[in-house]
Amino acid sequence: MAGAALPLGRRLAGWARLKSPWITVYNSGACNACDIEIIACLMPRFDIERFGILVKGSPRHADIMIVTGNVTLKQASRLRRVWEQMPEPKYVIALGACGAAGGVFHGLYHVADDVNRVIPVDVYVAGCPPRPDEIIDAVVRCLGLMKEDAAHGGKEWRQEKPVPAPETGPAAGRRAA
């Protein structure tokens, strides 16, 4: 295990990261179902706080962003920007069939289908919508990724090619300026 060679500070930080993943939810045009299932995770039955997971309103405080649903064209640039506001190290979970490929909305004129077109996705979750236990499982898998990344010293080892920023239109360009 490469972790043993790391200095104590890094190991401590790695441990803390696994024990306190804070998530923020971004609805990029979903039908709500994924969102209510995420909220259902907070409930007494599932209670994700026992894993140290908190849902935070500000992306500045979050470690993991859960993107629910297909990305509508209007949300694409906003999603990218909110993602850029998150501090490193950050991870993205795309929820549901829509997050993976657009689901039933695949091919509609106002939908960009895959979340990965806009921001790099670390974990996909299947289901329409995924059950709360599957969402928790996805966060745990994401924690596994974090652990491996910490051992490799970064996320680059599992990325074949970096995800390019989406080509933005004239209006989006104006806004950014």
Binding site: N32, C34, D35, I36, M43, P44, Q75, R78
Partner: protein, 393 residues
């Protein structure tokens, strides 16, 4: 005094779904409000014209995750009406049971979210705990927690076994007890009353003028309820009351919803006990004759209207969806004016906005507070980046 423009959304903790308000506030008072709901526009209506009825049903179910059964049932009901197809009584009862369970889960969800909006997380947790019991029942009956997939043209896809009916009936007493508790809690909890009473008041005349629907309208004493007005499914045979309130504020809307929880429980119990035997689906043709219908349905949030025009093929010529939230936005813009900044989440939540429903199509609406007349100003270039924006003027 300087007015501050506060952009809320598209991503904001008070909103579980994307929407953008620009609140123009003077101190903590709201002067004006501008709305943009287009973030969820996916183009479902266009897609619904290009897919056949069988494929449209799951698509419409995913218009909204909370009232999925409403959209699918309403569409199936409309197409069946055009086809002049009578669905078997058992199918009607099963649809009614699912519909009322959906109303219960939606109202419990709303109660929790409204409590969360005022920071009352304990009530939030408790209602959602009880919502799980409803979800379990739905899951047992349909196999899914959220998108039930129960409907097809001509009936339902799954039958209820006696064991399922027994299991559902055994869960009802606990829920009835809890609903009684919630009613007590809503009427006596001090901070809840402080935040809900007198907030976002709409008079009966305003409700009629601005066309609010559902619990928002019923809280002001307007007893529009499609289940009674134009009975569909099994509602003509089931005894139930339309719950109304006279206060017209958020507190009234809360009481109406809690009251409807009790009525829904009664309906579910009646339907489970009186469900007729027989087949669960009728043979439906693949194509519908030329025709049109305005299919209406009382969704948890209010009256849902589908205008369906068919042209003799297996696809619809046009499906126009008018969701309850869209009808309610006009009244929200009215009752937000002159309210406190801190009350925005409560008032907006009080209509139970379902934005993914609404913004298949998008609306910006703005209100001139003093005159009380809706005027549409120029839509300025939106500033969407909420995080580092502050505008004084």
């Amino acid at each position: 005094m300087a007015e501050v423009v506060i952009p809320i959304g598209p991503q904001h903790p008070a909103l579980k779904e994307p929407v953008n308000f620009r609140i123009i506030a003077d101190g903590e008072k709201i002067v004006r409000l501008e709305l943009d709901l287009s973030y969820n526009h996916r183009g479902i209506e266009k897609a619904a014209e290009q897919r056949n009825f069988i494929r449209v049903l799951p698509l419409l179910e995913r218009v909204c995750g909370i009232c999925s059964h409403s959209h699918a049932t309403n569409f199936a009901k409309g197409v069946e009406e055009i086809m002049a197809l009578e669905i078997p009584p058992r199918a009607r009862y099963i649809r009614t049971i699912i519909a009322e369970l959906e109303r219960m889960h939606s109202h419990l969800l709303w109660l929790g979210v409204a409590a969360h909006e005022i920071g009352f997380n304990t009530l939030f947790m408790w209602t959602w705990r009880d919502r799980e019991a409803v979800q379990d029942t739905l899951e047992e009956m349909s196999g899914n927690r959220v998108h039930y997939g129960m409907n097809e043209i001509g009936g339902v896809r799954r039958d209820l076994t006696p064991a399922q009916i027994q299991a559902a009936l055994s869960r009802l007493p606990v829920l009835e007890e809890r609903v009684r508790q919630y009613r007590q809690m809503v009427e006596s909890e001090e901070t809840l009353l402080m935040r809900f009473r007198g907030v976002g008041r709409l008079s009966k005349e305003e409700v009629l003028k601005y066309g609010a629907v559902g619990p928002t309208a019923r809280a002001s004493g307007v007893d529009y309820d499609v289940r009674k007005d134009d009975p569909y499914l099994a509602y003509a045979e089931v005894p139930f009351n339309v719950v109304t309130d006279t206060s017209g504020d958020v507190y009234g809307r809360t009481r109406v919803r809690v009251g409807e929880l009790g009525e829904s429980l009664k309906i579910v119990r009646y339907c489970l006990e009186h469900i007729p035997e027989g087949p669960i689906r009728a043979d439906a043709p693949h194509t519908a004759p030329e025709g049109e219908t305005l299919s209406r349905y009382e969704a948890p949030r209010g009256e849902l209207a589908h205008f369906i025009r068919t042209n003799g093929t297996d696809k619809a010529e046009r499906i126009d969806i008018r969701t309850p939230t869209l009808a309610n936005w006009t009244s929200v813009a009215v009752c937000l004016v002159n309210q406190n900044l801190a009350d925005i989440p409560v008032i907006v939540a009080a209509i139970d906005p379902c934005l993914s429903c609404t913004s298949r199509l998008t609306v910006v609406n703005r209100n001139d507070g003093t005159a009380g007349v809706i005027t549409f100003d120029e839509l300025r270039r939106r500033r969407d980046r909420q995080w580092d924006r502050q505008e004084l003027r």
